[in-house]
Amino acid sequence: MKTPLRLAVLGGLAALTLAIVPLVGRQALPFSVLLDFGGSDPAAIIFWQIRVPRALAAFVGGAGLALGGAVFQAIFRNPLATPYTLGVASGASLGVALVSRFGLSLVVIGLSTTSVAAFAGAMVAVGVVWALTRLRPELSSTTLLLAGVAMNFFFSSVILFAQYTASLGDSYRIVRWLMGGLGGVDMGTVLRMAPVVALGGTVVLWQARKLDLLATGTEIAASRGVAVAPTRTTLFLATSVMVGGVVAACGPVGFVGMMAPHICRLLVGSNHRVLLPASILFGGAFLVLCDTAARLVIFPAELPVGVITAFLGAPFFLWLLVRQVGSASARS
């Protein structure tokens, strides 16, 4: 199948997922709710005020996380790199752990304390890495990733300390947030998260050709006409803010950011002008599906979506990898 066709199929499947998922749930909804926007009928309220915002939030969040992974894997030339690797998620988690532990209130223009703390924590982590690159521009990307790993451990130990010394209730709240989840989202969450992801996404998509070149190495990229340092800084900051916004709304949902770009690479190749849109579609649809599974799997209770993402995603990824290796050896 040609690459543009694969992208179109992916787009079709993503649209289908978004269309069907809000109809699926404990309460079977008639198709007529589709026409009853703003209606006071319970079915219409469940559909338009609960399930549609939740599906949209999952899509936007998944798209942002996948895009972030694709960008970091290219600019760091490392298949394991994501904004999480550099501490965005653990910084956010630390923010939430601290406000929960010390009972702080940080409500800003309608945003919850948790969201504000998470976003602030993520930005502190980004700021540390950014400062490192400014102070020592010669640091290699491997060194930066190592610095990120060290920071993750540092944040984790402070989180553990906060949790250990917290009351049982606060400790549970922290653990629950760390698992990630879309239980509390509404249209407001979508409307706050979407512009951040759209802005980050636009910046990233605009740099698609540069990402291809950065993925081949900084010397080649520079020689082909890419201003490497400013491009990397722009991409790094835009992506980190985008993923920080997603984590603030959905919690540190794992797996999507690292694996979605790899799965898309297997499906549509490495060209970023195709890979980035594919990551948006796949990452978005994947998180929507995972969130649906999270809603239904231990029905009537609900699982945190972070429990589901790797549980469903890892076997699928392994299957794709094995299939890829199999077809490669069949060709040779």
Partner: protein, 263 residues
């Protein structure tokens, strides 16, 4: 003297505490093929990176077509100067065609598709380097020689008139060395490219060039044409080793052999 395409004035590069290049000056005229030789760590690759603005010197300046490099934007520079770095064995999940097409980056807009002129430049570069039949293969699946030719194709697709190459024939078997050297000869003789190549190969690459610059310890140790440089005393002073010359090299030049004790 022919018009200067590359001028280097009193160039010094310091990385941390180490001074890699010190007071290097040189001139490369239009259509000239300069080889840069010297022992390991002499600063050859560093010099090449400075010529393409990848590395910023701590002192001195580089001029391309009589304009200081610092006044030329990256994309504009890329339309004039192409650089082929040392072969990198890392994974590269792009097809050969995609990789060569990336050479057109300084000519295309962020979202615009490649134009007919771009496609033509890509096809021409792939034809010249003999990688057309590898177009749909992954870069990661290529042999060292094929990968090197694809790298040169990408640099040629860039459409510049100055080509910088770092060790273009190292790690290649003899057949592929000859292919690359024939290609450089053609590019120089027929397409009139100005070429600067860093090399350890005193026999073939140096013989293809029309001038040689030797670096030692970050300073210029000798300059001249290949016949002047391929001299046992000159080479001994550059490399701190003994050499033997024998008749029968490329273009009537002698062949250089390192002389071992007792030989």
């Amino acid at each position: 003297m022919s018009e200067s395409r590359i001028a280097v004035e009193d160039l010094s590069v310091r990385i941390g505490e180490a001074e890699i290049l010190h007071g290097v000056s040189l001139n490369v005229g239009r259509g000239e093929f300069l080889t840069v030789i010297g022992p390991n760590g002499a600063g050859k690759s560093t010099l090449l990176r400075c010529l393409d603005g990848i590395l910023v010197p701590s002192h001195g300046r580089v001029l391309i077509d009589e304009r200081p490099l610092t006044e030329i934007g990256r994309r504009e520079l890329a339309r004039t100067v192409s650089y082929v770095p040392q072969p990198d064995a890392g994974p590269l999940d792009y097809t050969v065609r995609s990789f060569v097409e990336m050479g057109r980056f300084p000519h295309v807009n962020a979202w615009a598709a490649l134009t007919e002129a771009d496609a033509e430049a890509v096809t021409h570069a792939m034809g010249l380097t003999g990688v057309a039949e590898l177009a749909d293969r992954s870069m990661s699946s290529l042999s060292g020689g094929e990968r090197q030719r694809a790298s040169i194709a990408a640099a040629l697709a860039q459409g510049g008139s100055i080509l910088l190459l770092d060790e273009p024939t190292s790690f290649l078997d003899y057949r592929h060395q000859v292919q690359i050297l024939d290609l450089l000869d053609r590019l120089h003789d027929e397409s009139g490219l100005t070429i600067v190549a860093v090399t350890h190969d005193l026999n073939s690459t140096v013989a293809s060039s029309n001038s040689v610059l030797a670096l030692k310890g970050g300073k210029v140790a000798a300059t001249g044409n290949p016949a002047e440089l391929l001299d046992t005393d000159v080479l001994s002073a550059i490399y701190d080793a003994n050499f033997r010359l024998i008749e029968g090299g490329h273009r009537g030049l002698p062949l250089v052999l390192p002389a071992r004790n007792g030989s």
